[in-house]
C-alpha cells in the first residue's frame, strides 16, 4: 500500500510538472514575453539581420531591434501556408521604409518542425527573414501551445523591456494596416 502511495505522489509530481507547460497561459498584450532560447542560425545574412554572433544558441532578448515580430507557424498548417505571402509582403514593406527598416525584425518559429521541414517551408515561399526549428515544441509550450499561425509583436526597448504589444491567432490581414498599427502602438511612429 505504501509503495502505491509513494508511486502516486511521484506520478502526481510528474503530472504537475508536465501540466505546468500545458497550463501555461499564452502571454497577452501588456505581458512580458518569455525570453526563449533558439538555435543560432548558420547564415551570415541572418546573423547580421538579427545583430547576433557566435554559435550554439541565443536568447531572443539578444536580437537587436526595437520591435520584434514573432510568428509561430508549422509547415503542415494550411493557414500558415496561406499566410506566408502576406508575411513576405510585410517584410518587404518594412524594408522599403527608411524610418523602420533598421528597427523592426521578423522571425518565424516552426512548432514541431525539424530543420528539413522548416527548409521546405522557406523554399516554397521564398522566405527571406529567419525561420527557426522548434522540433521539440519547447518554444510552443512556453507560449501556451497556441494554434497556428500565431503572431506576437514584442517591444524590446523602453522602460518595460520585452513588452508584448500584439498577441493574436490567425492572419495579420492587411500588411500595411498591420504595420501602421504596430508602429503606432509601439510609439515608433
Amino acid at each position: 500500500m505504501k509503495i502505491i502511495k509513494i508511486g502516486l505522489i511521484v506520478l502526481a509530481f510528474m503530472f504537475f510538472a508536465g501540466s505546468s507547460h500545458a497550463a501555461e497561459l499564452t502571454p497577452a498584450k501588456g505581458d512580458t514575453f518569455p525570453d526563449i532560447t533558439l538555435s543560432m542560425t548558420e547564415k551570415a545574412s541572418e546573423k547580421e539581420y538579427l545583430g547576433l554572433s557566435g554559435k550554439g544558441s541565443f536568447r531572443i532578448s539578444q536580437i537587436k531591434a526595437e520591435l520584434l515580430i514573432l510568428e509561430i507557424f508549422s509547415m503542415y498548417c494550411p493557414y500558415c501556408q496561406k499566410e506566408a505571402p502576406i508575411v513576405n509582403e510585410l517584410y518587404q514593406l518594412i524594408n522599403k521604409r527608411e524610418d523602420l527598416k533598421n528597427k523592426i525584425r521578423i522571425i518565424g518559429v516552426g512548432a514541431g518542425n525539424n530543420p528539413f521541414e522548416v527548409d521546405i517551408f522557406r523554399n516554397q515561399y521564398n522566405i527571406q527573414f529567419p525561420l527557426f526549428s522548434d522540433e521539440s515544441y519547447s518554444v510552443h509550450k512556453s507560449v501556451g501551445e497556441v494554434r497556428t499561425p500565431y503572431f506576437f509583436v514584442i517591444k524590446k526597448t523602453g522602460d518595460k523591456k520585452n513588452t508584448i504589444i500584439y498577441s493574436k491567432v490567425g492572419s495579420i490581414q492587411d500588411p500595411k494596416q498591420f504595420l501602421d498599427m504596430i508602429s503606432e502602438e509601439s510609439g515608433l511612429k
Binding site: I120, T148, Y150
Partner: protein, 202 residues
C-alpha cells in the same frame, strides 16, 4: 482494502489520461479549429500487412475526388509511386499530413515520384475536407465501396474500418520498396520518406 486499491487505480488512470490528452493538441492549425473530431489516443497499429519490400504491389483502381478513376498500373514504367493511406477525414494528424506534402511537390518530382492519397471516406467528404487544405496537387482516392477493399489488399485496414497511417513506396517496375505502417497517432517524418525516394531509379 480492495476498494481503496481500486480508488488508487482510478486516480492513477485519471492522471495518465490527463497527461495523454494534454499532448494531443500540439501545433494545431487555426484553420481546422472546431472542425476536427478528436479521436483521442488510438491503438498505434491495428492490422498486420503481409506485404514486404521486394514484393509486387497489388494493382487497384479507385475513383478520385476530381472525378477520374486512377489505377496504380497507370504509372507502371513511368513514375515511382508513394501511396499515403490516412485513417479518416476530419481527424487530427491526417488533417496536417497532406498539407505538408502539398508544399513538398518539388521533392516528389525530383525523385520522379507521384503521390496518391487514399482514405476509406466517401467522395463528398473527401471533397470538402481536402478543399479545406487548399488546392492539392496530388490525387486523393476514395476506398469507400466496397469498403476498404484496397486497404485490405495492402493489409492496412483496421478493425474499426479506418486504415492505418501507412506509406508504401513503389518503384517504376511496380515493386514495393518501402513500407511504413506508422503509429496512427503520429505524423510520419517527411525527411525519412524523401530519403527512401532518393534510393530509387529516377
Amino acid at each position: 482494502m480492495f476498494s481503496k486499491n481500486h480508488f488508487y487505480f482510478y486516480v492513477l488512470a485519471g492522471i495518465l489520461a490527463l497527461l495523454y490528452s494534454s499532448t494531443i493538441a500540439y501545433g494545431a492549425s487555426e484553420q481546422f479549429k472546431g472542425k476536427i473530431y478528436n479521436t483521442g489516443m488510438l491503438k498505434p497499429v491495428d492490422s498486420k500487412t503481409k506485404l514486404k519490400p521486394g514484393m509486387k504491389a497489388p494493382d487497384f483502381t479507385l475513383p478520385s475526388v476530381s472525378g477520374e478513376k486512377i489505377s496504380l498500373s497507370n504509372f507502371l514504367g513511368k513514375k515511382n509511386v508513394v501511396i499515403s493511406f490516412v485513417p479518416a477525414a476530419w481527424t487530427p494528424v491526417c488533417s496536417d499530413q497532406w498539407p505538408g506534402y502539398n508544399i513538398a511537390k518539388s521533392l516528389f518530382e525530383k525523385n520522379a515520384a507521384v503521390l496518391i492519397g487514399i482514405t476509406v471516406d466517401n467522395i463528398p467528404t473527401l471533397f470538402t475536407w481536402t478543399k479545406e487544405m487548399g488546392e492539392l496537387w496530388f490525387p486523393v482516392l476514395s476506398d469507400f465501396y466496397p469498403h476498404g477493399s484496397v486497404a485490405k489488399k495492402y493489409g492496412v485496414l483496421r478493425s474499426s474500418g479506418t486504415t492505418e497511417r501507412a506509406l508504401f513506396v513503389i518503384d517504376k517496375k511496380g515493386i514495393i520498396r518501402y513500407i511504413d505502417v506508422h503509429d496512427i497517432n503520429k505524423r510520419p517524418g517527411l525527411e525519412t520518406l524523401m530519403k527512401e525516394l532518393e534510393k530509387l531509379e529516377k
